[in-house]
C-alpha cells in the first residue's frame, strides 16, 4: 500500500494519453488513458473486443497506435517494435511461449544473454550461469528444486515464474502479464501471486495484468481499470471496489449491448 501512496504524487512509470487504434471499419481503441505507477500492479479487465489486447500490443511495441501518446517516466516515447519497447524496459511475458522446453532452467534464464568466455568462440561459462541463476532465483524467492531440470519438466506455475524472472533479470521495469494464473492450481497460483507482489513491492517493477477472472485480479492487483468499447471507463483501487461491483458493471454493459443490438436490428427491419 505504502509504495503506491508514496508514488501517488510522482510521475507514473507508464502513462498513455488518448491512444486510438482502428482496424479498417472497426474502432478498437477510442482514446485510452492509463497511469501505471512504480511498483504498482494494475489489472485490465473487459469483455472480449473491449480493446485490452490491442492496447497491450501497442504498449509492448507489437502494434502502433493511430494517435495518442505513450510516456515512460514522463517522457514521450515512440515504440516501433518489440525491441524498442524492450529497450525502454517494457516486456510482455507469455509463459507458454517464452521458454525452450529442452533447455534447462538456467539456460532459459540466460537465453541469448549467455555468459561466455573466449570472445567470439562463445564458450559457455556454465558454472557462472548456474551460480548466477541460482542466486537470482533465491533473490526473488522463486524456489525451483533443480535449475538443471529441463523447462518441460516444470509445472505451468514454475514456467511462468522462470519467464517472469528472465524478463526482470534482463532489467524489465514494466511487465505485461496475460492471464498469469490461467489454468493453475492453488499452489501454483500462490507462487505467481507471491512473485508478482514481491517484484512490485521490493524491486519497483510495475506490472500490467490482463485477466478475465476477477478473483485473480483481486488477488494480484492494487488497482483495476475496466475497458469498455475501447475506453477505460472505471478506475479504482481494489480495496475501493468489490467483485460484485465489477460483475454488475460488466453485466450492465452486456445488457446495454444486447439492447443496442435489438435497436439496430429494429432499425434495419423498419428501413428498407
Amino acid at each position: 500500500m505504502t509504495a503506491i501512496d508514496e508514488a501517488a504524487g510522482t510521475t507514473p512509470v507508464l502513462q498513455t494519453e488518448g491512444i486510438t487504434k482502428r482496424f479498417g471499419a472497426v474502432v478498437a481503441l477510442r482514446g485510452v488513458d492509463i497511469q501505471l505507477r512504480s511498483g504498482e500492479v494494475l489489472g485490465l479487465v473487459g469483455d472480449n473486443g473491449a480493446g485490452k489486447s490491442t492496447f497491450v500490443k501497442i504498449v509492448c511495441g507489437f502494434q502502433r497506435p493511430d494517435s495518442g501518446r505513450i510516456l515512460i517516466d514522463g517522457r514521450e516515447v515512440h515504440l516501433h517494435s518489440v525491441k524498442d519497447a524492450r529497450a525502454h524496459g517494457i516486456e510482455a511475458v507469455y509463459h507458454d511461449l517464452a521458454l525452450v522446453p529442452q533447455l534447462s532452467v538456467y539456460q532459459n534464464l540466460f537465453l541469448n544473454r549467455e555468459v561466455t568466455t573466449l570472445g567470439r568462440l562463445g564458450w559457455l561459462s556454465t558454472r557462472k550461469m548456474r551460480a548466477q541463476a541460482q542466486a537470482y532465483l533465491d533473490d526473488i524467492k522463486v524456489s525451483i528444486p533443480n535449475i538443471e531440470a529441463e523447462a518441460e519438466t516444470l509445472s505451468g506455475g514454475q514456467r511462468q515464474a522462470i519467464a517472469v524472472a528472465r524478463a526482470t533479470r534482463q532489467n524489465a521495469k514494466i511487465l505485461l502479464l496475460d492471464e498469469p494464473l490461467a489454468a493453475m492450481g492453488a499452489k501454483e497460483s500462490a507462487l505467481i501471486i507471491d512473485l508478482v507482489k514481491d517484484l512490485a513491492a521490493n524491486r519497483g517493477v510495475s506490472i500490467l495484468v490482463i485477466d478475465h477472472n476477477y478473483t485473480h485480479l483481486f488477488e494480484l492487483c492494487d488497482r483495476v481499470n475496466v475497458f469498455q468499447q475501447g475506453r477505460v471507463t472505471f478506475d479504482r483501487r481494489v480495496e475501493d471496489t468489490s467483485l460484485e461491483e465489477l460483475t454488475e458493471l460488466m453485466v450492465s454493459e452486456y445488457r446495454r449491448q444486447v439492447m443496442a443490438g435489438h435497436r439496430e436490428l429494429g432499425d434495419e427491419v423498419t428501413a428498407p
Binding site: D96, L111, E152
Partner: protein
Amino acid sequence: MASQATLTPGETSPAAPPAAPSTARRGPAGSLLRLFVSRREATIFVVAVAIIVYFAARTSEFYSYANIVTIVQYMAPIAVIGVGEVFLLTLGEIDLSAGQIFLVSPWIVVWLQQAGLPIGWAITVSLLCCLAIGAINGLITVLLNVPSFVTTLGTYFSLLGLVLIVSNDAQADMPGTTGTFGQIFGISSWSEIGWALLIVVALHIVLKRTRFGMHVTATGGNYLGAAEAGIPVRRVKVWSFMILAFGAGFIGLLDSIRIQSLDPASPGTTVMFSAVSAAVIGGTSLLGGRGTIIGATIGAIVLGVLEDGFNLIGVSANEFTLVTGLVILVAMAINVQLSRVGARMRT
C-alpha cells in the same frame, strides 16, 4: 508434483495423458530406466555392444586388424555426415543433399586440376564450393520459406545432374595426392577415421558447450520463443547447413583420395540415408530440439558393424539392407517409447 491442469494448449512438448499417474520408480530397475530416458545414447550404446559381442563370437575374423580398418573406413563418412545432420535435425530441418555434396567435392577438385589449378588450390576452392552449396540450401530454406526437405531434394538432383554432365558420364581418377599429404588426407588407414573423430568431437563441443550450440537447440525447440529472445534463428539455420556441407565435402575428399577413382553415376543417397539413420537411431528427434552427437556416432558404428559383420558371416548385402531397415524401426520405436515414459516420469 505439477498440477495436470497446467498443460497449456499449443505446447510443443510431448504432453503426457492428462490422468497419468506419477511413476517415481525405485530400485535398480527404476534407475536403469531413468538412465535410458535421460541419456538417449544409452539405448544405442547397448545395441552397439550387443552386436559387436555377437559378431566377435561368431567369427574370429571380426576383430582382425584388417577388418577393424574396413569398419572404421566404412563408418567415417556416415559419422561425419550423421553428426552434421544432428545439427539440422535438432533445428527441425534435414539435408537430403549432403551425400551428393560428399560426392561432388572430389569432382570439383578433378575439374579444377584439369583446368590447371594446383592441388592445394583445387582442394581449397572445392571446400569453399561446399560451403556455398550449404549456404544456398540454408538461404533458400529460410528466406523463401521452403521446407528444407524440398530445398535439399532440389540441390541433390542438381548436383547429381551437374556431375553427370560435366564428367560426361566417364569415371575419373583422383589426381596428384601422394606423399605425406596424401597419407594425412585419406591414404593412411587411420586418416579418415582420425579426421572423422576430430570433427565429431569438435561438433559435440560446439553443440553442447558453445553459445551457437545452445542457440541451435533453442531455435529447434521453440522457434518463436528463440526469435522473441533475439536469437538470429535464420542465421543459426544457414550456418548449420554450411557446417554439414563443409563436413560432407571434406570427408568426401578424404574418401576419394583413399579410393582414388570417382564414379559419376553413384548416387549420394546411400551415404545420406545411412547418416540420417545413424542420427535417428542414436536418439536425435526428427521434431527438433533434441540432438545427440554421441548418439549419432554410435549409430554410425552400429551401421558399420552390421554391414561388415553380415559380410563376414556370409549374409548378402540384400539381407543387410533389410536388417538395417528393421534396426531403424526398432530403434525408433524404443526411442518414442522412452520419451513417452520420460514425459510420464516428469509429471
